[in-house]
Symmetry: C2
DNA sequence: CCCAAGTGAGACATCAGTGTCTCAATAGCG
DNA sequence: CGCTATTGAGACACTGATGTCTCACTTGGG
């Protein structure tokens, strides 16, 4: 059953552990392996059986985050319909990955090594391309660079994930708050 | 001269050290005391002379961040003029503190202890009050809660500070990018 | 010019976190 | 009902960061 990676009730749910770890580490990067294990509801020994060490854990977090974010990008079909529609689909699809994404964005130390950021750079380019498309089609303003809009999206997703975690924003408002702020801003326009 | 806290050229510039430390620690929370010292251009021993330990350093970071952010809030005169004007003044005044602010927002572990967050909660309330005023005066939309707008401001400031640090956003665009996105969003309105 | 203050570099003991191990207990499966 | 796989708890040594100390050097003031 171990070859399945899941299915056995007594077997640790690898993804669940990683999500919990991301939520904890993104808020307390100095958390102990023991704290991570406790947060995930498993023993330190078990955590070590699945991830050779702290580095391996972080790498796994990185890999899962990139993988899931890429899946969200695929599912959002960024080239279909208006850029606004695509962005809303992206925000919706990113919600389950928000914790992971917050960790990736925060833990900049991942990208100091060499270039595991290759994977990340590719995702970055896809998001930026969406904003560029919106600008070229006259849908988005051109005075905010695609690079900044991309970073802002990441920042807002992470911030909102934390706000939800701390109860400052209702979980059901996650998509709305991010998409509306990013698209329309705080100002009340006359045509809205 | 030590009673002045400054003035002696060979004396370490305490605030400069803290700013450097904030910039480093907000991007690599696991950085060593030695790394912090090197980044600040001083020896580890000297760093230890000024801050008893890592905890003391973080506390000092917290205190300075709160103090300077509060000063920025005062200087922005949040009750004067339109809410938009006040927000733009705040963003402008916050720019020099952006690194410190990014550290405070990211290092949530500060607020796990007891309630040094009292100081933070007060600042939080002031910012939220600005957004609430904007809403009550019909200037801001009411479907985005003041609490969320407050968090979003923090998130965007931190994100933009990092983007500038990494060269993805030009330093001169700091205020514009944040204020414009936060106020108007990415969408190109017909009345703009 | 000399002295006090401050600094950097390094040595050192200490300690918390890490990684590895063993062992008893438990859950699923035949 | 055993058997196997997996887990949690604990013991253990080890590594790296930490905090403290000394000492030589430099700077600025008297």
């Amino acid at each position: 059953m171990s070859h399945l990676g899941y299915g056995c009730l007594m077997t640790v749910d690898r993804e669940q552990v990683l999500r919990t770890a991301a939520a904890l580490l993104s808020r307390k990067a100095t958390a102990t392996m023991d704290e991570v294990a406790r947060a995930a509801g498993i023993g330190r020994a078990t955590l070590h059986r699945h991830f050779a060490g702290r580095d391996a854990l972080v790498r796994a977090l990185e890999a899962l985050g990139i993988q899931e974010f890429e899946a969200a990008l695929d599912a959002a079909r960024l080239d279909d319909g208006t850029a606004e529609e695509a962005l809303r689909r992206l925000v919706a699809g990113v919600e389950p990955v928000a914790g992971l994404l917050a960790f990736l964005v925060t833990e900049n130390q991942l990208f100091e090594g060499d270039q595991m950021n290759e994977g990340w750079a590719r995702l970055d380019a896809r998001v930026a391309a969406l904003f560029r498309r919106g600008q070229e089609q006259g849908e988005f303003r051109i005075d905010l660079t695609p690079a900044w809009l991309t970073e802002a999206l990441y920042g807002l997703v992470g911030t909102c994930a934390w706000a939800v975690q701390d109860g400052r924003v209702a979980a059901k408002d996650f998509q709305y708050m991010i998409a509306e702020l990013l698209l329309g801003g705080a100002r009340r326009s006359v045509d809205r």
